[in-house]
């Protein structure tokens, strides 16, 4: 013990199981901190973090920002909509300009897969990937696993089904890597058109019948249909999608056992999940959001401690 094996958090595939355990143990302590009446600790008071978002985000950006503030880091926010990117500046130029203002860490969301890896090779700062296209979203997968661990005691040996738009989902890929690293079994479920070809090669099983998948699993992670990433029609109508792959209270109550419902947000209520399921006792959707801050504090703290 005990440092991370990486200097950047670019994806779950670059982590090992020990890293994940270290992040979880550190997050346990931060979770206690953020439930105090005074939620702030001074650890990162000499660290400056830039939140660079080339793609829209509410939850992730707020969660990172809150995590950074609770650690007393100085932060600068940058979103592409209001920036010089629109004027033709390249990614490296944009970030180097930010770094010349003495920034130690960059949290970046970008529509292109691999943007984080590219950046880590060209700029001198610790990089945290907050989502790169349909590739990875590591902190989301970490907080998902952390929430499963909190609810069920352990991730190892648990059966998790990821339902919905797997093709366009960075949450799905990061979750698959994270869950497998911790010894969980993973299935994916959705319309064939929204399942990537050769997904079986990652060691996950494909199930196209939602009821079967739900009867098999301990945890169902419901994903949103990412309409903004779809350049063509992948299923006839939203109504038909809901009938086949949406989860409602009747379906939930008719299962053989009580399963845990997760959703990374934002929820399209009435499409992939109905309101009474999202707000039910079995849902840990809001726990996921709370845990997101603790997990991000842990990741930032552990990476920042390696900045010299």
């Amino acid at each position: 013990m005990s440092s991370l094996s990486v200097q950047h958090l670019l994806g779950i595939k670059y982590l090992n199981e020990k890293d994940i355990q270290l992040i979880f143990e550190t997050a346990d302590h931060f979770k206690e901190v953020i439930n105090r009446s005074i939620k702030k600790v001074p650890s990162l008071r000499d660290i400056t973090i830039a939140n660079v978002f080339f793609e829209n985000s509410t939850r992730t950006r707020l969660s990172f920002e809150l995590a950074e503030k609770r650690l007393s880091a100085d932060i600068v926010n940058f979103s592409a909509a209001q920036s010089s990117v629109k004027k033709g500046e390249t990614l490296i130029d944009t970030v180097n300009n930010i770094l010349s203002m003495k920034v130690d860490m960059v949290v970046m969301r970008h529509p292109n897969p691999g943007a984080g890896v590219f950046l880590s090779k060209h700029v001198k700062a610790a990089i945290i990937n907050a989502g790169d296209g349909a590739h990875e979203h590591p902190t989301q997968a970490l907080l998902d696993s952390y929430s499963i661990r909190e609810k069920l005691g352990d991730v190892a040996g648990k059966k998790v089904v990821i339902v919905g738009d797997i093709l366009h989902s960075r949450v799905a890929l990061s979750n698959i890597f994270a869950l497998q690293l911790q010894g969980a079994e993973v299935k994916v479920c959705g319309p064939r058109t929204l399942l990537p070809k050769h997904i079986e090669s990652l060691g996950v099983e494909v199930e196209t019948n939602l009821r079967k998948a739900l009867n098999w699993c301990d945890v169902a992670n419901m994903l949103r249909i990412q309409n903004e990433r779809m350049d063509m029609s992948y299923f006839p109508t939203t109504r038909e999608y809901t009938q086949q792959f949406g989860i409602n209270k009747n379906l939930l109550d008719s299962l053989e056992k009580e399963i845990v419902i997760m959703h990374p947000g934002p929820i399209n209520r009435g499409v992939e999940i109905t309101s009474d399921v999202a707000d039910s006792r079995q849902s840990i959707i809001l726990n996921q959001v709370e845990n997101g801050v603790a997990i991000r504090m842990a990741v930032i703290y552990l990476l920042a401690s390696m900045i010299k």
């Binding site: 013990m1 440092s3 550190t26 346990d28 302590h29 206690e32 901190v33 009446s37 401690s305």
Partner: protein, 184 residues
């Protein structure tokens, strides 16, 4: 410790520790009597053994009915973040009472530079504003302080040089109560 190449000498034996703990308990009792307004807070990771031991002695040998005992982790309040090679590893904080308006006794096994206590003084503020804070330490390494911090209760004062290290073993953790002075 037998095959340890470092030179070491015994600073306090189990019997001496036993006597000192009872003296410290009596000194606490003199100032706090019923412990109604007082909370004992052990500083993680090493101070919690001493805090637990003192609370036990106060209850068993001196008839104190209830003592609020907490553990405080100071990791995120330390001033050496990023200054060493290793990531500072946190321990858990456990305080199921409020410190607002109460007397707090911070408890740690060895007082050395005083930086841990400085961090603890900041950390405790997250849980409220105590009316008064005291410091109890088993070993006080005088002449090595970096900050103007002194204990209110001390077990034994030691003149150790910087190359030396005080190693405290507790029965519940290491099988035996004993304190060594080690030459690094």
């Amino acid at each position: 410790m037998a095959n340890n190449p470092m030179s070491q000498k015994v600073l306090l034996t189990s019997k001496e520790i036993h006597i000192i703990l009872h003296r410290l308990a009596c000194q606490l009792l003199e100032n706090h009597l019923e412990f109604k307004e007082t909370a004992l807070i052990g500083i993680q990771p090493r101070g919690i053994f001493l805090a637990r031991r003192l609370a036990h002695i106060l209850k068993e040998s001196y008839g104190v009915k209830h003592i609020d005992l907490g553990y405080l982790d100071i990791t995120f309040f330390r001033d050496d973040f990023r200054r060493g090679d290793k990531t500072l590893e946190a321990s858990s904080t456990k305080m199921d009472f409020l410190v607002e308006g109460r007397k707090v006794v911070l408890i740690d096994d060895v007082l050395y530079t005083g930086r841990s206590i400085r961090a603890a003084l900041t950390a405790i503020q997250s849980f409220g504003r105590p009316s008064e804070i005291e410091l109890l330490t088993l070993i006080d390494r005088r002449f090595s302080r970096h900050l103007p911090i002194q204990p209110n209760y001390r077990g034994r004062q030691v003149d150790a040089i910087n190359e030396e290290k005080v190693l405290v073993h507790w029965e519940e953790n290491n099988g035996k109560d004993i304190i060594y002075l080690i030459n690094k």
